[in-house]
Symmetry: C2
Subunit: 196 residues, 2 copies
DNA sequence: AAATGACCTTGATCCAGATCAAGGCTTCAG
DNA sequence: CTGAAGCCTTGATCTGGATCAAGGTCATTT
């Protein structure tokens, strides 16, 4: 299989492509990590030390509320980023967990390393700006949908736009991501499959 | 009153401060606009042409759903940005409205101008990256709260963290922002004020 | 000063989705 | 092979919040 760091470089090339120096800097300032299923990258109370890029596998980021209930905030599959940006930048303890749902291969960039990449190669400022802008737009859409659509519509949208995830991730987690209980999602699924 | 563009420069100085050349470029590539109450910066179907910085006043961004109901996605007061980033970057028609809730003064940067600022002065890449990262974190928190907290808790949080807005903006809009009906928010308020 | 419209409130009723409880299927560690 | 833990489903019941309807206050316009 391709070298994970090469995959990361290729990912950046989809934005403003990296030159040789930038590529080398990125290789030096990142490191590959393998996770087994249920492995944690981040747990509540820890500082989120890494920007993490998923080369293979699937992770989720979630919070546990006062009643002990989990709330999935984000999934990350191949070629997606996952990080608690707030904790990462402020270097403050996170309230979130990041856990591998499958055995996964990721590339991590630590805080200090990323700052150096930014100042030594401004193109990373640019590329990460664009990456986050895209994530931001997605998140806004999600919040709008959360307020404007029924659970049924939200689930339909999820399946349409993330068929891969819908197949890959247990429904409990999808339910939590959509903001409904697993029981209710199960009923929605029963209803929709009868129709279709 | 201070020159609006100066206020914008001062805003950037809170991140990586601008040098003389950058400041001049910013002045050249932005323009001041005054809005009256109910004035629109953006309407559904239009392309969002500007990154807009609020110097004075208060705006809201919202969507109208299939049933004709408005959903407030964001408020912007003094020293805050408001823009449909998705529409802005893709130069595609927006599904959102941006409307002044009060007579307001804003500074706009158009698409082409912003791109030039980015490429001619990479510091803008940096500063806008940081700005969006902060907005992103806020938005994530909001989505988490939407899924993990009751309407009552969300309203309490809103009042605590945005006392200015709570006083300034009609409750109809706050309700929509929180994802509840105005009637229900009214009942929550009645309940909480009785207690307090 | 009347009239329109924006905003807030309160009551009655309804419903999407939660909660509680139980049973069954799979998968995987021991 | 066996048990236990995940995961999914289905039923019965409950509730946070929506919907519908009406009235009241205030500010702006004419």
């Amino acid at each position: 299989m391709a070298d994970p760091q090469q995959v990361l470089c290729a990912h950046f090339d989809r934005y403003l492509a990296l030159d040789e120096a930038e590529r080398r800097a990125l290789m030096e300032r990142s490191r590959v990590r393998r996770l087994k299923k249920r492995g944690f990258i981040l747990q509540e109370g820890e500082v989120c030390r890494c920007y993490t890029y998923v080369v293979e596998g699937c992770l989720r980021m979630y919070e546990i509320d006062a009643k002990g209930v989990e709330h999935n905030l984000q999934f990350a599959q191949e070629n997606e980023w996952i990080v608690d940006i707030g904790s990462f930048h402020a270097e403050k303890p996170s309230s979130l967990f990041i856990e591998a749902l499958e055995p996964s291969t990721v590339v991590c960039i630590e805080h200090g390393d990323l700052l150096r990449l930014y100042t030594e190669h401004p193109k990373f400022d640019r590329n990460f700006r664009v990456i986050i802008e895209d994530l931001f737009v997605e998140l806004q859409q999600r919040l709008l949908r959360r307020n404007a659509s029924s659970a049924e519509q939200r689930y339909a949208h999820f399946v349409q736009h993330h068929p891969g995830l819908a197949a890959r991730v247990p429904n409990v987690h999808v339910a939590s991501y959509l903001g409904v209980t697993p029981e209710f999602l199960s009923r929605l699924r029963a209803k929709t499959s009868k129709r279709g």
